[in-house]
Symmetry: C2
Subunit: 156 residues, 2 copies
């Protein structure tokens, strides 16, 4: 579960040059190929590295608008709402949370006008009492993991 410095360097290297091979990595890191291969296998079976799926940019797909919606759910309707939201392609992510709302989801849409359609579809479901939406303007820090990996590689 804990990762060491070499693991950290492997992940960072992989993050910077995703198409790099095991052999090239071993050269860059100055260790044997078998070592890198074994570390990678371990990181993957550990679940530290979940996969190498392509990172798709919704904006490039024609969905430049992102928003976060906080939902209030009628008691006992949680499971139904989850199932409902899972069927909406524009819902990229859904969490249940403590605090003001009961759920929080990330939405994308083709335009601000289209966002209305998406929200209507999201909240057009019995179990949802109220929704409050925040539209994303800028994204100064895009989803990142490297700083955390570096911290984990040092501290541990």
């Amino acid at each position: 579960m804990a990762i060491d410095h070499l693991d950290g360097r492997i992940i960072v290297l992989l993050a910077r040059e995703p198409r790099i091979g095991v052999l090239e990595m071993s050269r860059r890191l100055g260790v044997a190929r078998g070592t890198v291969q074994a570390r990678l296998d371990r990181l993957q079976s550990n679940g530290v590295i979940r996969g190498f799926g392509p990172e798709v940019d919704p904006a490039a797909l024609g969905y430049p608008v992102t928003a976060f919606a906080t939902l209030q759910i009628r008691q006992g309707q949680g499971a139904d709402v989850r199932a409902h939201l899972a069927t909406v392609p524009e819902v990229l992510e859904l969490h249940t949370t403590t605090g003001t709302g009961d759920m929080m989801c990330r939405l994308v849409a083709r335009s601000n006008a289209d966002l209305q359609r998406v929200i209507d579809r999201v909240v057009g479901f019995d179990g949802i009492v109220r929704a409050s939406t925040a539209i994303v303007m800028e994204n100064p820090v895009p989803l990142r993991i490297i700083p955390l990996v570096e911290q984990a590689a040092l501290g541990d």
Copy 2:
């Protein structure tokens, strides 16, 4: 910028079996290797596929707690706050938004207790007036893109 059905199948296939090669993809999809290669190149230079970075699970790294924080910023301090938050490794993502708060960020921490430390570090900065935090309990829909890709591949 618009993607067609073949593009969609390539992305979905890649998302399901990330380590698959171009040759194997061409076999599965029933097209020539050169075609898949050309499509992939185009998708990447389009920016539709941003990369193939490893997906790292913060929980497996020792950060099982996720939270969303909504921040209110003192007028004119936006840039400073952005720079401050970018230095905190536990800040995985930062957006500026419309609505109640001015910014919204995703945090991770080693425990609920550790979350307090992270929040203190986040808000321990002059430009931040107020922060309200929602801790994530469940994640019924993890960050996903396939349904949107399928929709984009059809509709267009």
